[in-house]
């Protein structure tokens, strides 16, 4: 049976299946199994240590897609340990000298022209993959990468059981303290939270990620009420949306939650519901976790992709801004802007009655997608705020030199309003294309933009584009140094094409596809660890992770899979 047919058959099985909680075999929590979500923690001062600005952990959400188990799992990996095990790329032996361990660069051997060098730093050129050994050439077609897979056991930090059919995972720092303007500040306790839409029970799971210093961390990095008799599975209190009694408006999560995104500190989490024309809004209530507070309905059928709009900077910090989200649809040629609104809490005269806050998520605006001949079936959408952030920084510097006069304030407002708008990217399946644009400049708005995208370019892709991820890669430069040479970080956009086993790397500066990564079967989730020059692609079909080199100093291995984590396992029906 062809892979697509197999997946279709599995889908039918899934749609007809009824997941009975508590029944069936427990999932192996340490096993990558039909992974659907990948996330990194943020590049911020983590664990109260300013020097820790790199991401530390990789989170993989598994989906138990073939119903072999009664639920699924979420796993975290230590990125430092991972990157230590992944072959280091090189051009010459000098690139491998940083550790002083005598390793050399596996470059062409003059007297053996048939040997294909790896351009990895190796201990022994004859064994470029070390003890793990090289993958059989024929297998490399199905599972790209020269070396046999790495056993992730040593690099795994924690895992926990979650419901079946997770569709994604996102990470957000906690919003436990706010500044004078009510803006979230980094949690001094260094805590954070994961949000996972789960299709099996139509919920939004939430899992607290403990600080490394927390005594409980030694036991498990995650805190979601596990150890409740369900063999390390999260408890019901960490699933939101399935019980109307849990929220004040008695709302219930619609079936098939799919895409997820959240505001910068996870105050608001939104989830698309792919079999209805609705999007759900959750408000994170702190210790109580996220609560379903509103459902935007009346939208086109099958909302899929969702992206939180980065909050603009205003000259007047107290300017009220309501969080916005851009949504794409499988069945409609449009992008909608949804906006969350929070009413001031109503306190009744009855002191026994808790304050009531009314939230709404509404379609505030919409823009047709005209850039393609068909235009429908948009999938992933992503926003790159870096062009605007760079301009904001310039404005702030100018304002700091200017002073506090009214003229300076006016100049700051003008500067902020005229900043470059964030770039917006979307994947379209009909035709298979990559839509490139930006939030529309409109000086009628205080932020200088309507926050709706204008797509000004369309680039062809291979079939089946799905997710779009904004990340960074290492390029030759001067800012950072890693022992071999200096480098800078540059923005890239990654478009994952599930059906055609490719990941396109788009260079926004050059406005062109820079490279095409050939992956294994079913590339789906992608997490880009730009600081380490690596990306992790979760292969849904064969249940393992591929590691992509994203260090342009080493062009021989750039945009290639240099390692795989976990042994690939073909779906049962294809065994």
């Amino acid at each position: 049976m062809r892979p697509l047919l197999r997946l279709a058959a599995l889908s039918v099985l899934l749609l007809n299946a009824c997941y009975p909680p508590g029944d069936g075999k427990a999932p192996p929590l340490d096993e990558i199994y039909f992974p659907t979500g990948a996330a990194l923690d943020g590049s911020w001062e983590f664990d109260r240590r300013p020097e820790t600005t790199k991401s530390q952990y990789l989170y993989i959400a598994n989906s138990d897609f073939d119903l072999q188990y009664r639920s699924s799992s979420l796993i975290s990996y230590n990125l430092d340990l991972l990157s230590d095990r992944i072959p280091r790329s090189c051009n010459t032996n000098e690139d491998c000298n940083a550790k002083g361990d005598g390793w050399v660069c596996d470059t062409p051997t003059p007297n053996d022209t048939k040997r294909v060098p790896t351009y990895y730093c190796v201990q022994d050129v004859a064994k470029p993959c070390g003890d793990s050994g090289e993958r059989v050439s024929a297998d490399q077609v199905l599972y790209p990468g020269r070396c046999n897979p790495l056993d992730p056991a040593d690099m795994r930090v924690s895992s926990v059981g979650i419901g079946a059919f997770a569709s994604d995972v996102i990470w957000r720092p906690n919003c436990d303290t706010t500044d004078a303007n009510g803006e979230c500040e980094n949690d001094p306790e260094g805590r954070s939270r994961l949000f996972i839409p789960v299709r099996g029970d139509s919920t939004l799971h939430w899992i607290d990620v403990l600080n490394d210093d927390d005594p409980k961390w030694q036991e498990n990095q995650f805190d979601c009420g596990q150890n409740n008799g369900d063999e390390d599975g999260c408890d019901a209190a960490h699933r939101s949306g399935d019980t109307p009694d849990d929220n004040i408006d008695r709302l219930e999560q619609n079936p098939e939650p799919f895409g997820v995104d959240a505001t910068e500190y996870g105050e608001f989490v939104v989830v698309t519901n792919q079999t209805t024309g609705t999007v759900s809004l959750y408000h994170d209530e702190g210790v109580k976790g996220p609560m379903l507070v509103s459902i935007a309905s009346g939208l086109p059928f099958a909302p899929i992709g969702i992206a939180a709009i980065p909050k603009p900077t205003f000259a007047e910090p107290t300017t009220k801004y309501e969080p916005g989200f851009l949504v794409t649809y499988r069945n409609a040629a449009q992008v909608d802007l949804l906006r969350a609104h929070e009413e001031p809490p109503f306190t009744s005269d009855d002191s026994a009655r808790p304050p009531y806050t009314r939230y709404t998520l509404r379609r505030a605006a919409s823009v047709p997608v005209n850039a393609n001949s068909l235009n429908f079936d948009q999938r992933g959408i992503a926003i790159d705020k870096s062009p605007r952030v760079a301009d904001y920084d310039k404005c702030a510097n100018t304002a700091a030199q200017c002073g506090a006069s009214d003229e300076c304030k006016a100049a700051l407002e003008t500067c902020l309003r005229s900043a470059h708008q964030p770039a917006v990217f979307a994947a379209s399946r009909a035709p298979a294309s990559f839509l490139v644009g930006a939030m529309t400049t409109d000086l009628n708005f205080v932020s200088g933009t309507s926050e709706l995208p204008s797509f000004t370019d369309s680039l062809p892709l291979s079939v089946g584009p799905s997710r779009v991820v904004v990340g960074k890669v290492r390029v030759p430069g001067t800012t950072f140094h890693d022992g071999s040479s200096s480098y800078d970080l540059a923005s890239r956009i990654f478009i994952v094409c599930f059906d055609s086993r490719r990941i396109f790397v788009y260079d926004p500066a050059r406005r062109a596809i820079e490279a095409i990564v050939s992956t294994g079967r079913g590339p789906h989730a992608l997490a880009v660890d730009g600081e380490r020059g690596l990306a992790y692609v979760a292969h849904f079909t064969d249940s393992y992770l591929g590691v992509i080199s994203l260090d342009l100093r080493f062009p021989k291995t750039y945009a290639a899979i240099v390692a795989s984590i976990g042994t690939p396992k073909a779906p049962r029906s294809s065994k």
Binding site: A364, P431, N444, S450, T456, D457, R511
Partner: protein
């Protein structure tokens, strides 16, 4: 037997449902270059115009198409009508493999070789494909692979590439190299695949490659032959012979040149636009290159200039003052360009010096990448303004196109020019002359008259006749728009009526040399289209003749039927209905105040006109006895409602439209993202909706609409009251939260009943709200207590108060509204005591954002919006009694009275000395200020005898709007993804390379696809 039956059944089922599977040889096609390849030995390239040779058939036009996903160049033999399989020993099609992802591709003028820029980490470079080896190898020849091609490595990704010619020196010799002394030749020459660009046909001189290196912010010059002479299969460093830094002087300030019709009104206090100048802190980044003759134009993707290189000596190319992209709509924007196209010099019989233009794609224009036009023949190096994009006349009647750009409904991906003519032989000399303009003057003679249209439009001037200079803009959605740049037939594309006056007549004609119609011996010498602006330079070409007739169909702006009246409430007797009537036009070329031109409009293909007299001797169209009468008198109860459609600019109309004139109509569909904020005890609230863009929707508060009152000559004494009565209002159209919503049980909704009636505080809150503000069972007639007058309109918020309230009642009602309609309730904004034209384009008004984000009129400083309008004020008849009703005290109340000081009245009709009302309203007559005219309609609304109610409406449809001519890939595929354009002048074919379709060829004589293309 059973087996046979089964087999038969299977076969039958197969034959009944044949499945055609189109196998694609190409994958992700990018760009194309054409080679004319002969049957020489070895088969070498020729000039492109030497193909095809129809007699011998030995020379074939070969299309080389880059394949971006497979790092190949596909080969299509257009003469053999097939894709070439380069390596027949392997299954499937294989093409010419190059070292990395191919980008730009160019062929030398004589066809000796083609050069392909490739990009990839450590693989950036240029591959040379000698024409001798671009076809499958013959017996005994080596297989084509990477080692077949000479190539060289570049230090970064190559961008666009252009072939330029280093002309022969004064002594007649060719320079071998720009470097002096010339470097020694490469050690190895390519003997298997020879290519001689030095002695190839075409312009005499050595071929050089101008290569953009965007990442290094420069352009370099390579010698084409030296690259060809490299040893095949190696990848040495390229050897630039010259480097150009692209750093020409940028003026300190510059601006666009405004045409007369866009200059601000005299006396208006308007700030001049402050244009952004090119920021030199941004490093230049070369984009597309267009080279023609001694000039190369280089787009810049990071700096707001188009570089101009003087290539008279390409080895020492001088950068001339650059072209300066700007945006009239967004002068603050730094405009970057991605691709450029330069036109050939278009010389005509009336302009022997010719015209030359540059089209540049504004890559970041929103909502879609657009095209700017530079007039290269008008460039003055010492006058920076001449180097900015052209702003076109007539922009004020083209609401769907920016004044200085060509913008379409999808981003422009590529642009190209085509200059073509098919001269008709002069009957006396037998010779045809290129570039003859069509001659419309009936008294003229000569070859120009040969291009006049014939009676059935099967010959001569017509849309399909692409004779002249045309632009082609390829859009990402699979359409290729045709643009009139210099149409040789334009003089014959017009109405037959002539206008020698200096002001445009109702057809947009002026300044004609003759005053008699363009008719000769009963036959038109022109097309007799509806407008003199049917062909406009650098505007999309019309797909059809703008004529509505029984033979041509409805192609000029026409009504489908006369307007129909409707009312949401009880039926209004015809005699008491308001009337919408056409009115005559002012005669712009007559000094007499009463001079008018008869109102006229097409209904379908039938022309109606308001002719006082008909027949010979009357001005057109009243010279036609058979013309139908168009009523303008509102007193004629038997006459249908009517209007006229201005014909000056067909581009005012965007295809078929349904329009409505609605009393107190809504400015936008209901929104549910508004939030009312009310402070305790305040009589005013704020309706906040950040995304509503109220100014963009045309909302007018009392301050804004006051200007209209002044224009309507409302007496000063009642102007304040009039403005308040006519300011827009918010209407809450949404329902209350559902009865089981927790809002009523736990939120503020628990207090609504008490707020509405303290004596009945135990009534469920929702019930109390329904009782007070009514339900939405009939959305057309909602409780007026849901209305909120707009006191101040700003871009994201409206200051409101309950309509018609006074004193404390305002505070209470506002508090109740706030309680009953919590966040997310649907609302709209409606015009007050006036009619609103709805449909036919959003934003056809002149309201914009002013100081303090307030909504203000902008037409006085933005002439593009002078003719924008959607608000219609009635004319009332002071002699007509209006409806009355009896109040609670049994007093008779006149519901409306027609006096100038009535704040609800727009215009009062004049009364003559005999006491008779002067109706219908005439141009320049009494109440003529209430004649409504915008871009697409002109009429007067006369008040009926019955009081108007909101949502009363006149509805009409128009057809025959402007339909642009285009070439579409959609018949070939529904999922088009076009990448680039090419042109084969000898065949007259436009080539469109599409990522999925492959190579599609279109015949410019028919705009149809050339079969068997597309090649995929």
């Amino acid at each position: 037997m059973l087996g046979l039956s089964v087999a038969a059944a299977v076969l039958a089922s197969c034959t009944q449902n044949p499945i055609t599977v189109n196998l694609h040889a190409m994958q992700s096609s990018g760009k194309v270059s054409f080679v004319c390849r002969g049957a020489d030995n070895p088969a070498k390239g020729h000039k492109l115009d030497e193909c095809p040779d129809y007699e011998a058939g030995s020379r074939h036009t070969i299309a080389l198409v880059t394949q971006t996903f497979t790092n190949e160049v596909a080969v299509v033999d257009l003469a053999a009508q097939q894709i070439a399989d380069i390596d027949r020993t392997t299954p499937g099609y294989s093409f010419l493999r190059v070292g990395a992802m191919p980008g730009s591709i160019v062929t030398t003028p004589g066809g000796a070789a083609t050069f392909v820029g490739v990009t990839g980490p450590e693989k950036n470079g240029i591959f040379a494909l000698p024409s001798t080896c671009i076809m499958p190898p013959m017996v005994g020849e080596e297989a084509r692979d990477l080692t077949t091609w000479p190539a060289c490595h570049l230090s970064s990704e190559p961008g666009d590439i252009a072939v330029v010619v280093d002309p022969v020196q004064v002594n007649g010799a060719q320079r071998e190299s720009c470097l002096n002394p010339a470097p020694s030749p490469p050690t190895s020459t390519n003997v298997d695949c020879p290519a001689d660009t030095v002695n190839e046909a075409g312009p005499v001189g050595r071929r050089k490659l101008l290569v953009a290196l965007p990442r290094e912010h420069k352009v370099i010059l390579l010698d084409a032959q030296r690259l060809l002479d490299q040893q095949a299969g190696k990848f040495p460093e390229c050897e630039p012979e010259a480097t150009f830094a692209l750093d020409a002087e940028i003026p300190a300030s510059y601006s666009q040149i405004l045409p007369e019709d866009l200059k601000p009104t005299a006396g208006a206090m308007c700030a001049s636009p402050t244009y952004a100048t090119a920021d030199k802190s941004e490093l230049p980044t070369p984009g597309g290159i267009a080279a023609l003759g001694e000039r190369a134009y280089v787009a810049d993707t990071s700096r707001a200039v188009v570089h101009v290189l003087d290539l008279s000596d390409p080895c020492a190319a001088q950068e001339l003052p650059p072209l300066l992209p700007l945006s009239y709509e967004q002068p603050w924007r730094s405009v970057k360009t991605s691709r450029v196209a330069v036109s050939p010099l278009s010389t005509t019989s009336k302009n022997p010096r010719g015209q030359q233009f540059l089209y540049a794609i504004d890559q970041d224009d929103q909502p879609a990448a657009s095209v700017m036009v530079f007039d290269l023949t008008a460039v003055d190096p010492n006058k920076p303004d001449t180097r900015t994009p052209l702003i076109f006349e007539g922009a004020k009647r083209q609401p769907y196109m920016p004044a200085d750009r060509l913008r379409f409904n999808a981003p422009v991906q590529d642009v190209s020019f085509v200059l073509r003519d098919f001269p008709k032989p002069d009957p006396t000399t037998g010779a045809g002359e290129f570039g003859l303009l069509c001659e419309p003057d009936p008294s003229a003679s000569g070859p120009g008259t040969l291009y006049r249209p014939n009676s059935d439009f099967s010959d001569g001037a017509r849309p399909i006749n692409l004779r002249g200079l045309f632009g082609f803009a390829m859009l990402t959605n699979g359409q290729v728009a045709v643009i009139d740049a210099d149409d040789f037939d334009a003089p014959c594309r017009r109405p037959v009526t002539a206008n020698k006056g200096s002001e445009e007549d109702i057809h947009g004609c002026k300044g004609d040399d003759i005053s008699t119609p363009y008719v000769l011996n009963g036959a038109n010498t022109v097309t007799n289209e509806s407008s003199c602006h049917i062909v406009e330079p650098h505007r999309p070409r019309s797909a059809s003749l703008s004529i509505s007739s029984s033979t041509n169909g409805v192609r000029a702006p026409s009504l489908r039927t006369f307007p129909q009246f409707s009312t949401p409430s009880a039926t209004v007797p015809v005699a008491k209905q308001p009337r919408m009537m056409a009115t005559d036009f002012d005669d712009p070329n007559s000094n007499a105040q009463s001079a008018t031109l008869p109102a006229q409009v097409n209904v379908g293909s039938q022309l109606y006109a308001n002719c006082a007299k008909k027949g010979a001797g009357q001005p057109p169209p009243c010279d036609d006895e058979s013309i139908s009468s168009l009523a303008t008198d509102p007193g004629d109860d038997n006459a249908p409602n009517s209007l006229t459609l201005p014909l000056m600019e067909p581009r005012s109309y965007s295809g078929d439209q349904t329009l409505q004139l609605v009393y107190e109509g809504p400015l936008f569909p209901a929104r549910n993202s508004g939030f009312l904020q009310v402070a305790d005890g305040d009589s005013q609230g704020i309706l906040q909706d950040r995304d509503a863009n109220f100014c963009g929707a045309g909302v007018e508060d009392s301050d804004t609409i006051r200007e209209r009152g002044v224009a309507l000559k409302i007496p000063q004494s009642s102007l304040d009251a009039w403005s308040q009565a006519h300011a827009d209002y918010v209407q809450i159209t949404g329902d209350f939260p559902a009865a089981d919503d927790q809002y009523w049980a736990q939120g503020q909704g628990t207090q609504c009943a008490a707020k509405i009636n303290a004596m009945k505080s135990t009534v469920p809150g929702r019930d109390a709200c329904v009782g007070k503000f009514g339900n939405i069972d009939n959305p057309a007639i909602l409780n007026t207590k849901r209305n909120l007058s707009i006191l101040k309109a700003a871009t994201g918020e409206l200051t409101v108060t309950p309509q018609g309230c006074t004193g404390k009642n305002c505070i209470d009602t506002l508090d109740q509204l706030d309680c009953c309609f919590p966040a997310g309730t649907a609302y709209t904004v409606r015009a007050s005591n006036q009619w609103l034209v709805i449909g036919g384009g959003v934003g056809i008004h002149d309201i914009g954002v002013g100081p303090g984000n307030r909504c203000v009129h902008t037409a006085s400083c933005d002439a593009r919006k002078e003719l924008y309008g959607q608000r219609v004020f009635e004319v009332c008849d002071p002699k007509v009694p209006f409806e009355t009703h009896t109040d609670e005290e049994n007093k008779v109340v006149v519901d409306s009275y027609c006096e100038a000081n009535n704040p609800k009245v727009g215009c009062v009709a004049g009364v003559d000395s005999t006491g008779k009302t002067q109706l219908p309203v005439q141009p320049n007559g009494e109440a003529s200020q209430c004649i409504f005219e915008n871009l697409t309609s002109r009429f007067v609304v006369y008040r009926g005898e019955q009081v108007n109610v909101p949502n009363m409406a006149f509805t009409w449809q128009t057809s025959g709007g402007f339909v642009p001519q285009s070439i579409s890939l959609l018949p070939l595929t529904s999922a088009a993804s076009p990448q680039s354009l090419g042109y084969l002048p000898e065949q007259g074919w436009l080539a469109v390379v599409d990522s999925t379709v492959g190579l599609a060829l279109f015949d410019l004589n028919s705009l149809g696809v050339v079969l068997p293309s597309p090649y995929f």
